[in-house]
Symmetry: C2
Subunit: 146 residues, 2 copies
């Protein structure tokens, strides 16, 4: 079952929403809770189904809305791979993603600050970056499967 948000988690949610002038709603709390509970980069549909267990009346559109709101206030990142359904990730530390083609799973890859710095340096001077997305695609060589 899905744990409630702890004090710190609830605070960052409320803070982030307040900062961008949005309201706290049960739906938003639950969707955020679902994201934190299982950090496996779920799709909207997966979030929806997990959230339904706690709030049976919840609608899919609301999940879309909530997630969009979270992305808007920087609480959550979108993960896009090819044309697949968008996935969502509450890991705010700079990181890349590795998508395992055999399982479809997405793994977070910690991203050293130096590399990020170097990356921004390859841009022409007048290019101002807002977001950088780095995604690997490949396979994991079994044995110690992650």
């Amino acid at each position: 079952m899905i744990q409630n948000l702890n004090k710190h988690e609830r605070e960052s949610l409320h803070e982030a929403l307040a900062k961008s002038g949005q309201k706290i709603t049960p739906q938003r709390e639950i969707v955020y809770t679902v994201l934190l509970a299982q950090r496996d980069h779920p799709t909207v549909d997966e979030v929806y189904n997990r959230a339904l267990e706690t709030m049976p009346g919840l609608s899919l559109a609301t999940v879309y809305n909530c997630l969009e709101t979270f992305v808007g206030c920087g609480l959550v990142r979108q993960v896009n791979h090819e044309r697949e359904s968008t996935r969502y990730c509450p890991n705010l530390a700079p990181h890349a993603h590795f998508r395992d083609e055999s399982t479809g799973r997405v793994h977070d890859i910690e991203l050293p600050k130096e590399i990020l710095d170097q990356l921004t340096k390859i841009l022409p001077a007048n290019f101002e970056t807002e977001t950088i997305e780095i995604s690997f695609q490949g396979r994991t060589k079994s044995s110690t499967q992650n």
Copy 2:
């Protein structure tokens, strides 16, 4: 108007198709020609409309087919940004993409080999990469607009 393929370009097309056991067709030549003629990362629809000028009967499905074929034989790369239409890019040198939010345009950014090397090093040992996608999103600070 769209130039024909030069000798070298036609050769790489034929070679790539032959290597993966596929046929040379007028449609494929035209679609490839369109891609080389204007390297602005067109969407399928844009490619389709440009190609129609040369081959009025061409169908959209065929453009999808051709582009998929090219990606399959490594002649062309897909460029995905968020949920937008897939764009296509005949630049085979390793490079990243910068998407200008104000214009929607996508710019190629040359990618130094060292950075690529460093990037593959941050992966766990058993992760085998097939493709890496690096995309920046932001704005260009006018003045010397590119």
